[in-house]
Amino acid sequence: MTEPLLETRDLVIRFGGVTAADHVSLKIEAGRNLAIIGPNGAGKTTFLNICSGWIKPSAGSVHFEGEDITRLPPRKIVTRGVARAFQIPQLFTEHTALENLLIAASARDGLRNPLRSMHGIDARDEMMHLLDMVNCADVADRVVVELSEGERKLIDIAVALALKPRLLLMDEPTSGVASSQKDEIMEILIKALSEANVTSVFVEHDMSIVQTYADEVAVWNAGNVQLRGTPSEVLEHPDVIRDVIGEEIA
């Protein structure tokens, strides 16, 4: 049996009286796109925050490729191969889209030469290709603050991919963008992930996105995994329709 890419064992975290993770044990296999769905406050983002090292669990452990990464800070977890994209894109707003990626490549490659311009680094072509993969090559030289939310989302993901991760954790990759753009963004995203051979875990509220683009779905409720399966299995389950969706999807 192959080792899971990411595994959590009995994760527990409480915020005051709220249990955001209640003995969560989950295995994520490589090469899959796992969607996490659930009502607001169910602990979905907290799960991503624990796996990426932003918050530490009260109990339990997180393992990436067999290594216990529970107590590592985010920067150490990133170097192990786990990258993160955010609900609100976390970019360097005074830099251009390309510069954001060049900074990521510089961090990845440990570039320290104080006299070499960042624009002259070897990874420049690679970063332009990455921008092309996420359909943002045309805004490469525009400052991030000038870009649309959809473009920022894609660049945020491109920055994460620039680190050459094996696992990408994404929090609501299509939130804040127009409904008409959601499919376009997901098409680009899934293609880019496939090209880069990256496994993904993404939190999502749009069930049509989940149904179309996820290989697997995990339903979060009250800090634990209520149900897990293929999109069709999960989204048609009466409990999920009642607790999460609220109505049947067309």
């Binding site: 990133v78 961090a107 104080p114 960042m118």
Partner: protein, 328 residues
């Protein structure tokens, strides 16, 4: 910091014509001892101060203001004075290296503590360290000379004993070389990957952490550079003045550095030197002709800059130059 814009991260080199203008400026500085010898010492002070202001400018690029960076200016100057006193006939370059290394080492020690903080806490902690050092200099008068400070004898230069005029000329040109060299280095550093990582502290530390970089370590790299730059400025000032006093680390000196940095153009290396030159001229001549109101004039000038030209003097200068170029 919200009302003052820092120069955008380096995205490429300046236009060639603008670079030529800066080269002409350096040539003009080099001609000062011949064209206006009575200004030589004044310009020398401005260049020394300008290097320290570049140190403050480095931190502004990360969105941080230090109200205590005169600490490193003073530490370097006092190290120079102590070395001169304990090693008779010490060479200028020896005290330059000793002072700069001492400032960098102090930057490492203080930096390890202050890089954990941001904003007002960062600024005030720096102030606290500088005032602690000021108290030590004032109270341990049997070692530091107290408020009277320590006089520096004239150091040798590569083993040669120079007369006063020759030494001042040497010091002046050394200051120009250091300003050009360290100014160039700092601009290159800003544009380099390590400099860019440092500057991202201003906009997004969360992403920096998720790129696998420790924001504190990135901050420390810039802090060390800023301390070393202040150190070089401190040694130049001490040898030019021939005396070091606790006033070197007094909070007014730190505030003056921030004042000049904002006046010249927060975040701009060239602006730091331009601001220092203008500041020294205004300070010297305004105090001579405007008596006690010169500080008020400077304050009003800074207010105008912040309100109407947040890019500072360098911003005005570059805008005027670009407009002139556009219409020509």
């Amino acid at each position: 910091m919200s009302s003052v814009t820092t120069t955008a991260p380096a995205t490429g080199s300046s236009p060639a014509a603008l670079s030529l203008l800066w080269i002409a400026g350096v040539v003009l500085l080099a001609a000062v001892p011949f064209l206006a010898p009575n200004l030589q010492l004044l310009v020398n002070f401005a260049l020394a101060k300008g290097l320290a202001v570049v140190g403050v400018t480095v931190l502004l690029r990360a969105g941080q203001v230090s109200f205590g960076h005169a600490l490193f200016f003073g530490i370097s100057a006092y190290i120079g004075a102590f070395v001169m006193a304990s090693v008779p006939g010490m060479d200028f370059f020896g005290i330059l290296i000793a002072g700069t290394l001492g400032a960098a080492l102090a930057g490492l020690v203080v930096g390890l503590f202050v890089v954990r903080y941001r904003g007002i806490f960062f600024g005030m902690l720096n102030l606290a360290f500088s005032m602690i050092f000021w108290s030590i200099l004032e109270k341990f008068y049997h070692i530091t000379g107290g408020a009277d400070g320590i006089r520096l004898t004239r150091p040798t230069v590569l083993g040669m004993e120079l007369g006063r005029d020759a030494f001042e000329l040497f010091l002046y040109y050394t200051a120009i070389v250091l300003v050009v060299g360290l100014g160039w280095f700092t601009i290159r550093w800003f544009a380099s990957p390590v400099g860019q990582l440092f500057q991202t502290i201003k906009t997004n530390e969360t992403r920096l952490e998720y790129l696998g970089i420790s924001p504190r370590r990135a901050m420390l790299s810039g802090y060390l550079l800023s301390a070393a730059l202040c150190g070089v400025g401190g040694i130049l000032m001490a040898t030019a003045q021939g005396v070091v006093t606790p006033e070197y680390v007094w909070w007014v000196r730190s505030a003056e550095m921030v004042f000049i940095a904002v006046l010249g153009g927060a975040g701009s290396v060239r602006g730091a030197f331009l601001g220092a030159l203008i500041y020294e001229f205004v300070r010297t001549y305004a105090s001579a002709y405007a008596g006690d109101v010169w500080q008020m004039l400077l304050g009003a000038f800074l207010l105008v800059i912040i309100l109407f030209a947040p890019g500072g003097i360098i911003g005005i200068f570059e805008r005027v130059f670009a407009r002139g170029k556009g219409t020509s």
